[in-house]
Amino acid sequence: MSHSAGSALGQRRVVVTGIGIVSPLGLGLENVWARLIAGESGIGTIASFDAAAMELPAHVAGEVPEGPKEAGALTLSDWIPVKDQKKMDRFIHLGLVAAAEAVADSGWVPQTEDDRCATGVMIGSGIGGLQTIYDASITVHEGRARRLSPFFIPSALINLVSGHVSIKYGFKGPNHSAVTACATGVHAIGDAARLIMLGDADVMVAGGAEAAVCPLGIAGFSSARALSTGFNATPGKASRPWDKDRDGFVMGEGAGIVVLEEYEHAKARGAKIYGEIVGYGLSGDAHHITAPAEGHEGAFRAMRGALSNAGLTPADIGYVNAHGTSTMADDLELDAVERLFGDDARTLAMSSTKSAIGHLLGAAGAVEAIFCLMAIRDNVVPPTLNLDEPSRASVIDRVAHTAQDRRVDVALSNSFGFGGTNASLIVRRV
């Protein structure tokens, strides 16, 4: 089938027909989006354990608020039976909640075996079941190996969100999982879209889930000198992309899941369409395990690849959701965007929503792609909180402090991961 307006990625076009999100700003797409646009922060003192007492240098993170669903908060037993919760690490819990929201939102309920086999899942995670591995290690260390739960391995494995989603809904198509650290979410959506374009599936449930706000996760990233430690007393100020006082990222937990669908398939069933996946670019730095290359040239190539893939030019992009983690690398990404956009940078809006929810690691790219789709739907771009004084000036409007009304037809989302992996995704209004 050929479409004159089809994306350059392939003949089969892929659109987003369902969205589910669980984040430090709560759950429920409209709730999270409204709070983000209102400039609220989901960052606080870590509540799930006492970071100060453990002598961890970072005491702040973005945790999913607990409470009733009506209040936009999470009560896990509403979603997953208590007896099943202990068979899964928290990243799987969060992934299942977001997937349930996305699938319900899409209205897609396959009725035939062919439909089930044409519906796949690709949900990744950057780290997987870290707390589960920590707990199991203690059991073995204490000489109680025979007491190790038979659910330990399936609780910790990264691809088990995809597994559980397929089992729950009977989705028998491709069952896959991306694992590329903080680029996971974008890779999962981009790769899943390509599976649809290539005809391996008609519908894919795709995204990322992460729950690494645990002592081992905080200790590990602290040890790599990656986390903010200077704002323990003022958590809401800790994530401050591009600001001169930024001192590291703030970890967040959550999940972002989308239902991707072949355009004709979506149209035929009258599905609501949030936008189209039109461009996807990937690159490797071949430079360093944690630091980006000079001028973030890997990011430059990922963005350029996504544009070329989409058959678009920088002038077409209205909004960039930056990787912008609140680390020194923020300015390198800025360099790459300025270089790629040239004069078109003057009309560009670029923000980092990590300023409000922290860095969701393997879920970040998916959640941020969702924010791009919402920016297109509502013609409003979310703010970069705490950008009081940029460490360097730029012609690019980084949407400091407050959201802006802006016409956005096409948006680009960046995600970069340890190991020197970069991915950019472009979404467009349909």
Partner: protein, 79 residues
């Protein structure tokens, strides 16, 4: 009902998330109480922990119903 039977029942209810009334002596963990093979492994571990007994794998494989579990543990405790 013996103290052991009471405790076994409680563990089954807790681990399998089933109604107490369904946990009858003849109830099969897999056929009647919705357990899968991993659930039964975990259940046997919970019995071992709760009663401070060791249930070797070949014995564990023969424990299919609530009564099987109670009988095995009572025998171990009496020995």
């Amino acid at each position: 009902m013996s103290e052991i039977a009471d405790k076994v029942k409680k563990i089954v209810v807790e681990h399998l998330g089933v109604e107490e009334s369904k946990v009858t002596p003849d109830a099969s963990f897999i056929d009647d109480l919705g357990a899968d093979s991993l659930d039964t492994v975990e259940l046997v571990m919970a019995f071992e922990e709760a009663f401070s007994v060791e249930i070797p794998e070949d014995a564990a494989e023969k424990i299919a119903t609530v009564k099987d579990a109670i009988d095995y543990i009572e025998k171990q405790k009496a020995a």
